[in-house]
Point group: C2
Amino acid sequence: MQRALTLAATPGLDLGPNPRVGCVLLDAGGATLAEGFHRGAGTPHAEVVALTNARHAHGDDAARGATAVVTLEPCAHTGRTGPCADALRDAGVTRVVYAQPDPNPAAAGGAGVLIGAGVDVVGGVGAEDARELNRVWSTAVELGRPVVTWKVATTLDGRTAAVDGTSRWITSAAARRDVHRLRAEVDTVLVGTGTVLDDDPALTVRDADGPQPLRAVMGRRDLPATSRLAAPGPDGVETCHLRTHDPHEALAELWRLDRRHVLLEGGATLAAAFLRAGLVDEIVAYVAPALLGAGPPAVGDLGVTTIADAARFDLVDATVLEPTTDDLSTPDGPASGLAATNVRLTLRPRKES
Amino acid sequence: MQRALTLAATPGLDLGPNPRVGCVLLDAGGATLAEGFHRGAGTPHAEVVALTNARHAHGDDAARGATAVVTLEPCAHTGRTGPCADALRDAGVTRVVYAQPDPNPAAAGGAGVLIGAGVDVVGGVGAEDARELNRVWSTAVELGRPVVTWKVATTLDGRTAAVDGTSRWITSAAARRDVHRLRAEVDTVLVGTGTVLDDDPALTVRDADGPQPLRAVMGRRDLPATSRLAAPGPDGVETCHLRTHDPHEALAELWRLDRRHVLLEGGATLAAAFLRAGLVDEIVAYVAPALLGAGPPAVGDLGVTTIADAARFDLVDATVLEPTTDDLSTPDGPASGLAATNVRLTLRPRKES
């Protein structure tokens, strides 16, 4: 299973909306027959890759009597590829060991199909590691909507800009580079029309590898024709304009577009709308050691009037972001926020215990 | 010098407004004749203690030809005790090695007195360690006013209470225990009359050893006769009422009362007044992983309208405060802020470089 997990975690893949999956085929003596991993939407699943490799290496009957070790329960549905449960059965595999049960109701049931076909099935081996490998995908599939991470850059007193609207830069260059890393990890970046009008962001990934996330704007107003988001992104993809104020509707549309992880980068109003709807799964806050005393707040009205109703989260990480050599050599120097030491706090909704 | 620093750092002392000082007397061969350290205001200085100990152990001429190793430049002024420089000279000490130059203009000059008397004087040996031992005292003496630490307990969005004024509890029990540690380290706790009217705090030290700090209130309004601060503290000491809105005046009065370290625990208005006056030397912020969306802000108007004028600080420490077993067993449980993991951020005014 460890080898299957390593295959699944192969770096440099563009998975799209699909999970990371690895598969190892073993012969009756426990020797490796073949391996496979999933390379992303539209390509064969890990089990099919492994079966194909086995056939190429050892002939058509290679998998007869074999054991398949796979990080995710083999699927039972026909998508762009046929069901893996059928493929394993048809190839003569007699034992399947899998880690994570398939959280996707449309794809689940593969274990049952295999058991019904007389295959010996063991599930849950290394399930936690396998789930962690596809943490965001698993949560999204369970929720039936994209996972939402809200990113906010704030002063110690919770301001995201000064009274005159200026906000460049509250946080350090190191913090802003970390935001690009965050953007590179999601498949969608979402702001409100208000942020487009106020800040005209580009929302592209710089200083990080990987595909550009979809740039999405939410709200009923048109985008100014001269705004950066009115033009196609560096990958030629148009901005997705979601003409609604309802976070549920926006996420449903993004889900239809095969989106699994949305980074919310809008202002206080958009953040408050998602928080009130219970649709924020993670908060990543960059806190600058600065005070403004006035200016736009990090989050708008949450409908909370008394302390018992405060929106509570679990702090899952606190990381000090030291200024880099680059920061220190910027012309603005230490007088601006650029060269400061910032703190990144990661919060998740509180688990009731 | 290391031994003299260790003597100075003797735990359990109530120094009052005085610095920690240690002294070792060595004979011509380098053997220890006697030691001494300062026990606090009204007691003999470290040098005098060491000279007295030497006399008791080795007779009246014990210190003749000796070397005195002392953590702070021997004083040249007559306070409640005579000048140490004179005492060392009169005892026949021929060499003085000291660490930190005396930052107190009223007491400095001891090295000059000794040199004038033909004593061999070496200063600055271990000066950084010695200064660190009396960091707050040194800064206060240099500034000629008490050092000010502003403590604030806030949500991630910079709120210190909900719209209805409730604030118990924004931060965790562990964070509030840490505040008592902080109170035990200062000699004065200061709030505004507004905080007395709103929250009726006791401002006493619980769960920590050491003397109670002076409880001070700033502002022109009378304290309600029924308020906790209207009654004497647990040590029988009356609350000090500073009838001014001017932070400079308040600190000058506290300085006259021999105060060296003030913990500012008031609300947004008091904090803003000290910040605007440039009179905050340290910020200790307890940040709870919670959002309120509305309610009193951490700090009032600072007169800042554009980002370039933000009050910038250096982050000198970020500490995660894990909930303790006590927290987890409170009846309020994880639904309140009590059992949360909080972050303590320590900031100091930015050094220009």
